[in-house]
């Protein structure tokens, strides 16, 4: 019995994405290296995402603290609030929420930009001018996304914890030093390192899926919108799948 059409489409797309990822590695390691474009993309992808990541991180820390507080008060462990928020943010919420925000902003922007370049023949123009468009457009964007997301996650975590500190001080008074010494005392390398490593994978997923969707855009301007949209949807799903895999790996390795 033949597989349903939707299943075949998903399998075909997965195969195409795998080939695209393979091409990224085989093309990316060969000279010539596009350093100038890589630095420009790091600025575009990293620096310009900072305000959004900072704002959402701040609100996330503040809201999480305010939501957790009543439950902890009920159990009489209000003093554990900084430790609990810190672990939740650093291990899980910080990387995942930042990656989702990143997918929304950068994944869609890469998908739309490359999609638009594809339908207006700009990618072909690059190719006929003797420049490898895959190397210039795809490799630089994927590397930038991979390198920038972990940095954004660290910044988001710090800003979230600052938001949490303000949240704690809405109903009680805790000094800045006391709050952050409690945070640092309760965090271990096993909280920080796996979260940092998985951020690289999240960044890679957002970059490669955004580029894949944009690079294979068709159907004119309608296709550009579809590329941007599906880049965000697929990247977001991939972030959750990678997170699940990361949790399983850390669990198997006993890093808890």
């Amino acid at each position: 019995m033949p597989l349903p059409l939707s299943t075949r489409k998903i399998l075909a797309e997965t195969g195409a994405l795998s080939r695209f990822t393979g091409k990224f590695f085989t093309t990316g390691i060969k000279p010539r290296y596009e350093w100038n474009e890589l630095i420009r993309q790091c600025f575009v992808i990293g620096y310009r995402s900072l305000p959004l990541v900072a704002l959402t991180g701040f609100i996330m820390g503040l809201v999480l603290t305010m939501q957790l507080r009543p439950s902890l008060v009920d159990y009489g462990v209000e003093s554990q609030l900084p430790a609990m928020v810190a672990i939740a943010i650093v291990r899980e919420i910080g990387p995942v929420i930042t990656a989702l925000i990143f997918a929304g902003k950068i994944g869609s922007s890469i998908g739309a930009e490359l999609g638009s370049m594809k339908v207006t023949e700009q990618i072909d123009a690059m190719e006929v001018s003797g420049t490898n468009p895959f190397k210039f457009l795809v490799v630089t964007r994927v590397l930038s996304a991979t390198l920038m997301l972990p940095i954004l996650v660290i910044l988001s975590d710090v800003i979230s914890l600052y938001g949490s500190y303000l949240g704690v001080n809405i109903r009680s008074t805790t000094s800045f030093n006391l709050f952050f010494s409690q945070v640092i005392d309760n965090l271990s390398y096993s909280d920080v390192i796996p979260a940092f490593i998985k951020s690289y994978f999240f960044g890679f997923a957002v970059g490669i899926i955004g580029c894949f969707k944009g690079y294979h855009s068709n159907k004119g301007t309608e296709g550009v919108g579809q590329s941007a949209n599906s880049a965000v949807v697929v990247a977001s799903i991939m972030i959750f799948i990678l997170d699940l895999i990361a949790v399983q790996i850390t669990d198997l390795l006993g890093i808890n």
Binding site: E113, S116, M117, T120, E121, Q122, D124, A125, M126, E127, V128, S129, G130, T131, N132
Partner: protein, 258 residues
């Protein structure tokens, strides 16, 4: 080599020099749709050849095969004596530097200024040039197309005719030996179309290029063509100069000139 299954006509510029492009037995299909069938073609040095044909007849496919954007099913495409389908990526890139391509949509990089658009090929293929020399070349090309004042503008700030001129300047900046034009006057008003045609001819004389022009604009065709190849059913059906083909008895050929 001349095409064997072609209705021959007289050619306005009969002087024969070296072949810069030679296509033999080219076949290209998309699924069951056979676009090019045993297509044969020659472009001589310094010649302007117009390829005429209905929409979907494979004209754009032909020039995309020449530049290596599409791989033909079979046949050979010799550009400067090198068979394009057999070249490695590095060899193909070295040929592409000598062949300019003007896209129908202009294909200007819309995230870059006009200066950056023109500098892009130079920064990649003329690494020996310093900043001043790059700037001089950019300004020379912009002056060639009459738009030096647009140097810091974005493509979105330009009109259709201006975009076409800038795209032409970018195509010429590496001083190519061959230029492939994909419908250069489509979408432009008749006056601008005429100006672009004149500019193409003027720059062709200045830089001594050879050209293949895909066009439906018969005024442009009459003005610019040394020779016309009529593409019907995937083959070079007829060939000759404008007057010769205009008076052609075959209704399939004649219909283009009505």
């Amino acid at each position: 080599m001349e095409t064997e299954n072609t209705i021959q006509g007289t050619i306005r510029n009969p002087k024969r020099t070296e072949n810069v492009i030679e296509i033999r037995g080219l076949h290209m299909s998309f699924g069951s749709n056979r676009v090019l069938k045993d297509f044969n073609f020659v472009l001589h040095k310094g010649e302007n050849v117009v390829v005429l044909g209905k929409s979907g007849s494979g004209k754009s496919v032909l020039i995309k095969c020449i530049i290596g954007l599409l791989s033909p099913d079979s046949g050979s495409i010799y550009v400067f004596g090198r068979n394009i389908p057999e070249l490695s990526q590095a060899e193909l890139d070295s040929i592409r530097i000598r062949v300019g391509f003007l896209f129908q949509s202009n294909a200007l990089y819309d995230s870059m200024t006009v200066r950056e658009n023109l500098e892009f090929p130079l920064r990649r293929h003329r690494l020996n040039l310093n900043k001043e020399q790059v700037n001089e070349l950019v300004m020379e090309m912009l002056e060639n197309v009459g738009l030096p004042y647009t140097v810091n503008m974005m493509p979105s700030e330009l009109s259709g005719g201006m975009k076409k001129r800038i795209a032409l300047a970018r195509t010429l900046i590496l001083k190519p030996d061959i230029i492939l034009y994909d419908e250069p006057t489509t979408g432009l008003d008749p006056i601008t179309g005429r100006e672009i045609s004149e500019l193409m001819l003027q720059l062709q004389k200045k830089y001594n290029t050879s050209s293949i022009i895909i066009s439906h604009d018969m005024k442009c065709v009459e003005f610019i063509a040394d020779r016309i190849v009529v593409l019907i059913n995937g083959t070079a059906y007829a060939e000759g100069d404008f007057e010769n083909l205009r008076l052609h008895k075959d209704p399939l050929v004649h219909s283009f000139f009505d």
